[in-house]
């Protein structure tokens, strides 16, 4: 129905403006990191209960990719950072 994401560039905006991509706590491996690392990066996802970092795209706003840290149970949003500030080592 409704809820708000506090975009670091645009302020609190309705979630309908955003697109969620998924787990932001995984880093893209080096090209030669080996099959296991790549398999984990492409296919394996945790589904944590509680705190979780996700990539959200402010698709209908500033078009920045953000890292939203939120609680999957209570939906409390702890932090929203620009993905570039987060870097690859999230």
């Amino acid at each position: 129905m409704a809820s708000l994401i506090a975009c670091p560039h645009c302020g609190p905006r309705p979630k309908e403006e955003f697109t969620v991509k998924g787990d932001a706590a995984i880093a893209r491996p080096a090209a030669d990191a080996g099959e296991d690392a790549w398999y984990a990066y492409v296919y394996l996802r945790d589904n944590p209960r509680g705190r979780h970092k996700e990539y959200w795209h402010h698709t209908s706003g500033c078009r920045r990719w953000l890292v939203v840290e939120r609680d999957t149970v209570t939906h409390v949003v702890y932090a929203v950072l620009d993905a570039s500030a987060q870097g690859e080592t999230a």
Partner: protein, 985 residues
């Protein structure tokens, strides 16, 4: 007017009579009536039939919890079924109909179900309809479906409009009763932006029906003064007729405002309902409390009413419930009703108080029977009397109205929408919600406060407490602290020994025995009992019944209600119309329409359009005398290959890419090399997903050292843009690269065919001969002697000598006209996406029909494009897995029928020549097919195991849906001009 309307009193405007009809019968009420009060005033107590047993039912409540008085309002497309008469504001011309009855509510043949009631108990679906299995679909389900539900929805479209809006406030106060008004006033005086929302058409809540004084002041005066002060505060907004139905993340509340549901003369320029998203920094829930019914025999007979509702009708609308009323109560509420009835000159026959030590402060005329209960109400379509048990003795009392009160349950739905669970409080004999949560405070009787003064004080105090955290200095509370003098009664969950049915859930016809049966059959868990008996599953969501049901389950299980617990509260608090949820998104506003800048040009040239996603693309351009689409498409294809054609390709995604690292970025995005693409050149690029499958394709041109222009497929334009942004921002933020979508800024025109160069040279100022502008050239060009600048690309999807010319969108039509004019002597024709598709299949060019998410570059014959020297690109790592390089992967081939007179369809499967259809024998499938006028045959592209090694093999193309078997041969996917001679003109 009938004797049910008292000659004086109430908040109705007797100078404003309103005519309405009920079941076609003309009736009259006054401004200030609800439909329910107007029906009562007209002596209409029987207003509906119950869900299962078709029992006659009357008006039970005066609010949102009403389970019985569900009526159908309006006609035609404005028909609204299952509307609670208690919430409908009466208006002139209102047409209401009763439900679930045939032929009439007074004489209903469905009432025969009552005789079958021994077979219709809890779980009857599960027990009765088990066998024979074949009967379920043919016999039972149609009967149940026919009998199910109450009102009937209309099939006609709703002619009215709805809208959605957002608004913001410091403090949202939900409920404009005593606590809510006090909270709003306190916060309003402190300067906070306040929204006070209330579902009624008049703010005031219980104060509207209150006869007691607060201090020295009459309740009505206090209400009037409070509303006047609130109205004078610019920072306070009062939303009447607005139901807050849900509490969501980010402290956003959903609410629906009735704008024009109180009139028959609907202004078409305004919405009838408005869906609000209220973003509140804090909210105070002052939703009040719900009075609980008492569970005794015949407690659903018309004439039985909640004590508080009876008081409301009496004091707000001057309605006499009957001539002789019995009050059955276990708390103060019954006595207040008796007081007001006697004050209005009405007879109270008895006050039956289940409490042994009933309070002795009663000073009225009616006799009080402490420690007594009403065992059964008597009557059919109207109450005639009650049987009372006192000290084991049975006594009959004649009465035509019965007021009941079983205590109060705080209305805590909203407070439990975000995960909080209600907790049983022995002290309050009620389920209460956590009193403060982040962003929400509960006040007044919703918080379990009882007395009126205490509710006013509580609302003021709670608002005062929250103001500092919102940045407002806590102004003096609008009302002074008060002690809650209300006593809490021990609940009476049910009366034993009743002869008649004792209803718990009125709307779903669940009675006492059903719940006891559920416990005895092992379904005593609250969630199981709900589903076994359907208690609480009707549109009222158990507002009246849930707490009683929990109490009854607790008694039967010999535990505390705390151990039984509640089912889960979820939005919506009350039913919401689809219209409000839909808002403006219907009809032509359901989704936007995207039109190419060349749309009007295509239309004036006779295009037939096809919807592709949001786009309207020109499909073909029929000429006089052409009777089928194939006639037009065949002509367009042959003409392009012989002369020239012009096609609108503006819908392709277009992305401008800038930055000193743009080349490096593209090198990582595409699987083929882009780092050294020369300025002035275009290149076909394949973009993979990280799993190695192809994501999208298109050409990207280097317009200057640090400026690239990418085209994507029409369908993936938005997805590719998101993908590029993700890679740039999240994966490689160190790269200097920026993007701008320019899909809508450019009109892009393909000009294809042997004469295309000659035609375009007439417009383009620069020399575009083969030497000056060879295949894959890409550059800015001057047009019409310097009048316009465009971008010219020497690229070809058709396999012909071809160009794509991009001009600023606003010039599209004029430029297309100029090309048509220049091409006219050369036989140019417009062609659409169908001809485009035929020509690309003839050339074996792939689209998303082939790039279907399961193909690697090698599967489509692009193995050599994939860079082996780049250190990294999206998809590189996964591309070398065993499965991705397996020899038997489905790979691209051409397929054509052995006999050109035969054909096949896209989606058909490929079988080895003599094989029978089976999963094991499946060799692949046809991804694209068309009729090629150049080959005079159907041709297709297919993904087939070992495809490229099987050219020349005879196969069977099989379509089980149409039972078609076509003999065919696999071949090269390039059917036409395999040496690409035409490409170079």
């Amino acid at each position: 007017m009938s004797s049910f309307r008292l000659s004086k009193g109430g908040r109705i405007d007797r100078a404003k009579p309103l005519d309405f009809t009920f079941d076609g019968k003309p009736m009259q009420g006054f401004a200030g009536d609800t439909l329910a009060s107007a029906l009562l005033a007209n002596g209409r107590q029987l207003v509906g039939r119950s869900f299962k047993y078709h029992r006659p039912r009357g008006i039970l409540t005066a609010g949102a919890a009403e389970p019985n008085a569900l009526v159908t309002i309006g006609e035609g497309g404005r028909t609204e079924a299952n509307t609670r008469a208690t919430l409908v504001e009466l208006y002139s011309g209102l047409k209401a109909k009763s439900q679930n009855r045939w032929p009439s509510v007074d004489f209903d043949l469905g009432a025969v179900n009552s005789l079958l009631s021994p077979f219709l108990g809890a779980g009857f679906y599960y027990k009765t309809f088990m066998w024979p299995a074949a009967f379920w679909e043919k016999v039972y389900e149609p009967i149940i479906r026919k009998a199910a539900g109450l009102g009937r929805a209309t099939y006609e479209p709703d002619p009215d409009t709805y809208e959605k809006c957002w608004t913001h406030c410091d403090l949202l106060v939900i409920g404009a009763g005593p606590a809510g008004l006090a909270a709003a006033l306190t916060a309003g005086r402190a300067g906070a932006r306040v929204i006070l929302a209330d579902e009624g058409f008049e703010p005031g809540g219980s104060l509207l029906a209150e006869t007691a004084a607060i201090g020295e002041k009459a309740a009505a005066v206090l209400l009037e003064e409070t509303l006047a002060e609130l109205a004078s505060l610019a920072n306070v907004r009062i939303f009447s007729r607005t139901t807050v139905f849900g509490w969501y993340d980010g402290n956003v509340f959903g609410a629906v405002e009735s704008v024009q549901k109180n009139t028959a003369a609907i202004d078409p320029n305004r919405p009838v309902e408005r869906l609000w998203r209220l973003a509140a920094r804090h909210a105070i829930l002052a939703s009040g409390a719900e009075e609980r019914p008492l569970v005794f025999g015949g407690n659903d007979i018309p004439g039985v009413m909640m004590a508080g509702a009876m008081r409301s009708y009496l004091n707000r609308q001057a309605i006499a419930p009957g001539k002789r009323t019995v009050v059955f109560t276990n708390d103060e509420s019954g006595y207040r009703t008796a007081t007001d009835l006697e004050a209005a000159g009405l007879e109270v026959a008895a006050i039956v108080d289940s409490r042994v030590g009933a309070p002795s402060s009663w000073a009225g005329r009616a006799p009080v029977f402490p420690g007594a209960v009403v065992q059964d109400a008597k009557g059919g379509k109207a109450l005639t009397g009650v049987t009372m048990i006192k000290g084991g003795a049975l006594e009959t009392i004649k009465a035509d109205a019965l007021a009941m009160s079983g205590g109060w349950s705080p209305i805590i739905h909203l407070a439990c929408h975000r995960g909080a669970r209600p907790v049983w409080s022995d002290a309050k004999a009620a389920f209460v919600a956590p009193q403060t949560q982040d962003g929400l405070t509960i006040a007044g009787s919703a918080a379990g406060v009882g007395a009126l003064e205490a509710c006013l004080a509580d609302g003021a105090e709670k608002a005062g407490n929250v103001l500092p955290s919102l940045g407002f200095s806590s102004a003096a509370a609008a009302f002074t602290p008060a002690v809650d003098t209300a006593t809490v009664a021990k609940p009476l969950w049910c009366v034993r020994g009743a002869k008649g049915k004792a209803f718990v859930d009125y709307q779903n016809d669940v009675h006492l025995k059903d719940l006891r049966l559920a416990v005895s059959e092992g379904y005593g868990h609250v969630e199981l009992a709900k589903r076994y008996t359907t208690n609480g599953m009707a549109t009222d969501q158990g507002k009246l019944s849930n707490v009683n049901a929990i109490g009854i389950l607790a008694e039967a299980r010999k535990v505390s209600p705390a151990d039984v617990g509640t089912t889960t509260f979820r939005p919506f608090y009350t039913p919401l119309s689809f219209g409000a949820l839909t808002g403006a998104s219907k009809g032509k506003h359901f989704q936007p329409v995207r039109k190419s800048p060349l749309h009007d040009w295509a239309r004036k040239n006779g295009a037939v359009f096809v919807e592709t996603g949001l786009w309207y693309r020109s499909s073909w351009f029929p000429k006089a005398g052409e009777t089928t689409w194939r006639d037009s498409v065949d002509r367009e294809v042959l003409n392009v290959r012989k002369n020239a054609g012009i096609c609108d390709v503006s819908t392709l995604g277009k992305i401008e890419i800038f930055g000193k690292d743009a080349a490096e970025f593209l090198n990582r995005i595409y699987c083929n090399a882009f780092l050294k693409l020369p300025v002035g050149k275009a290149r076909y690029g394949l973009m993979l997903r990280e799993d190695g499958m192809i994501y999208d394709d298109g050409t990207t041109s280097r317009l200057s050292e640090n400026h690239f222009f990418m085209t994507t497929t029409t369908a993936y334009a938005a997805g590719v843009m998101n993908h590029l942004e993700f890679c740039a921002q999240a994966l490689w933020p160190d790269l200097d690269v920026q993007f701008a979508s320019s899909t809508d800024q450019w009109a892009q025109i393909a000009v294809a065919g042997p004469k295309s160069r000659t035609i375009l040279q007439a417009l383009v100022d620069e020399d575009i001969c083969e030497v000056a502008f060879p295949f894959l050239g890409a550059k800015e060009v001057s047009l019409f002697g310097g009048k316009l600048t465009g971008r010219l690309f020497r690229i070809s999807f058709s396999g012909e000598l071809a160009y794509e010319l991009a001009v600023p969108a606003g010039y599209g039509e004029a430029v297309a006209d100029a090309i048509m004019q220049a091409g006219s002597p050369h036989g140019i024709c417009p062609y659409g996406v169908e001809a485009l598709g035929v020509m690309r299949i003839e050339k074996g060019h792939v689209t998303h029909s082939e790039i279907n998410g399961t193909v690697t570059p090698a599967d489509l014959g692009f193995a050599k494009m994939v860079s082996t020297t780049k250190p990294d690109f999206i998809g590189k790592a996964m591309l070398s897995r065993d499965g991705m390089v397996a020899q038997d992967r489905l790979s691209l081939v051409g397929v054509k029928p052995l006999d050109p007179a035969t054909t096949f369809r896209t989606g058909s499967h490929i079988l080895s020549e003599a094989a029978t259809p089976s999963l094991e024998n499946d060799q692949g499938y046809v991804t694209s097919s068309c009729f090629s006028p150049n080959l005079g045959s159907t041709i297709g592209l297919a993904l087939v195991k070992h495809g490229p090694k099987r050219h020349g093999e005879q196969v069977t193309v099989w379509n089980d849906l149409k039972n078609e078997y076509t003999k065919a041969v696999l071949c090269s996917p390039v059917f036409f001009d395999p040496e690409n001679e035409k490409l170079h003109g």
